[in-house]
Amino acid sequence: MGQKMLMKGNEAIAEAAIQAGCRFFFGYPITPQNQIPEYMSKRLPKIEGGCFLQAESEVAAINMVYGAAGAGARVMTSSSSPGISLKQEGISYIVGAELPCVIVNMVRGGPGLGSIQPAQSDYYQSTRGGGHGDYRMLVLAPSSVQEAVELTQLAFDLADKYRNPVLVMGDGLIGQMMEPVEMPDYHKDESLPEKTWAATGWKEGCGRDRAVINSLYIDPSVLEKHVNHLYEKYAVMESAECRWQEEMTDDADYVIVAYGTTARIARSAMRKLREEGIKAGLIRPITLWPFPNAPIARAAEHAKAFLTVEMSMGQMVDDVRLAVDGKKPVHFFGRTGGIVPTVREIITQVENLAKEGK
């Protein structure tokens, strides 16, 4: 670990990416993630082989990512909700062509232009694919600047491991707040395979097949085989890459499920509730896809009820309900429009459940 520094989430993510060997960044300005491209524009030209390019649009940026990833590079782009919507076409192609890359979404309020305040209303888009076709992305949701650093670096390894894009999903708060952070000494996972599939120039007898980076499979049986292959990878991800944090769930009557910024607030609420004598616990998904069904299913065996808290009108709550599978009631509390739920609001929600014996 290096020395502790005070860093803004967006800048910490950018530096973490560089430490993880990211030398190419293509982006387009949008609030509240601008410090990522700004930081990259300052740092990358000073690093040998590094390139920052401000694209003409989010659409172009994600396709530059496609080209750079196809050429074998560690590459990243970042944006915020409306911009991520624009990137969906490219993301779908990247998945189809099995290219590794890291995409950061500092989520802001929607729909439409929405607001520039923090939100979590891109959960469906992120965990259900987002673009056209059958696919998934690994979605990592940090709840602190330190965790954003660690997950960004992990994202590059996972992307290379599975040849699939990985989404780091923060929100305006994670991006904008300053926290003490230690840059880990990054060591690349040595077991990662060589990118022998990359398009870097070929001729007969050069030791590999001609590279064709492509997502078009016009023969239905061939496309079905390809999609089945993608889903075999997703099955491995589901068993190997699910990450979450549990606090005081062993004896909890009321289990709060929250991620990212909201989980920090939920943690404070959970501790206050314990002080009041209400047995509350917290499950914080770190991977939003694959979703941590197991700890939720376990907690459903003994808990009285669940409360999902989100900065949205209720999106992750669907996954919590699927994991609970009807065994216990699943309640929801959310704020939207860029409003962050307060500790007091969450406490009141759980207090009411306890009072009503729900």
């Binding site: 659409v59 172009a60 396709n63 080209g67 196809g70 050429a71 076409e89």
Partner: protein, 245 residues
Amino acid sequence: MAIVYEKTKVLTDTPLHYCPGCTHGIIHRLVAEAIDELGIQDRTVGIAPVGCAVFAYNYFNCDMMEAAHGRAPAVATGCKRVNPNNIVFTYQGDGDLASIGAAEITHAATRGENITVIFVNNAIYGMTGGQMAPTTLPGQVTTTSPYGRDPALCGYPIRVSEMLATLDGPAYISRVSVHDVKHILDAKKCIKKAFETQIAGKGFSMVEVLSSCPTNWGMTPREALNWLEANMIPRYPLGVKKEVG
């Protein structure tokens, strides 16, 4: 006996899927021959478009990437920035380049991106069944301009080469045609020149190739080439539009 002419090894053995008499095949050949003659096959990466040439990755015998509709210049940018020693070309039709990809081509050009663009202009969307393109001529009948392209309704065709030549970024832009052997030989020279421009590191190069679409124009291959010469060349004058020494 010596070989006067044979198919270049920079084309694969896969038979082209294009309609009989479609000039895509001629243009593929010219691009592949230029790559062959310049000795750059082992460092070339081609970017295929969406449209009739979508399967170009099956034909060019070099590393290839298939891009989303219109995005080939952005994909080429990412590829070239990672490996500047690669020779990167895009192969795009008029719908791909001049309509949905108008932003990507314009910005790749103005950045002086050191790539080569082969722009095939046949004034129609071929693959999707003959719809109106940004380069469809006024009065030209297509499946979405069944009464002929009406400029009052949908504006005028874009002269892409002239438009991009106004920018400071491009190093070489020319327009050629492949309607007869003389023009095919000229086209080959220009395509080679475009690749040489990239090899020399001078920046963005593009060759617009006037091409035919016998199937969707509803003509025989020969009639189509005659129509190209009589109608397209007056609208899209041939020649070098920009060349930086």
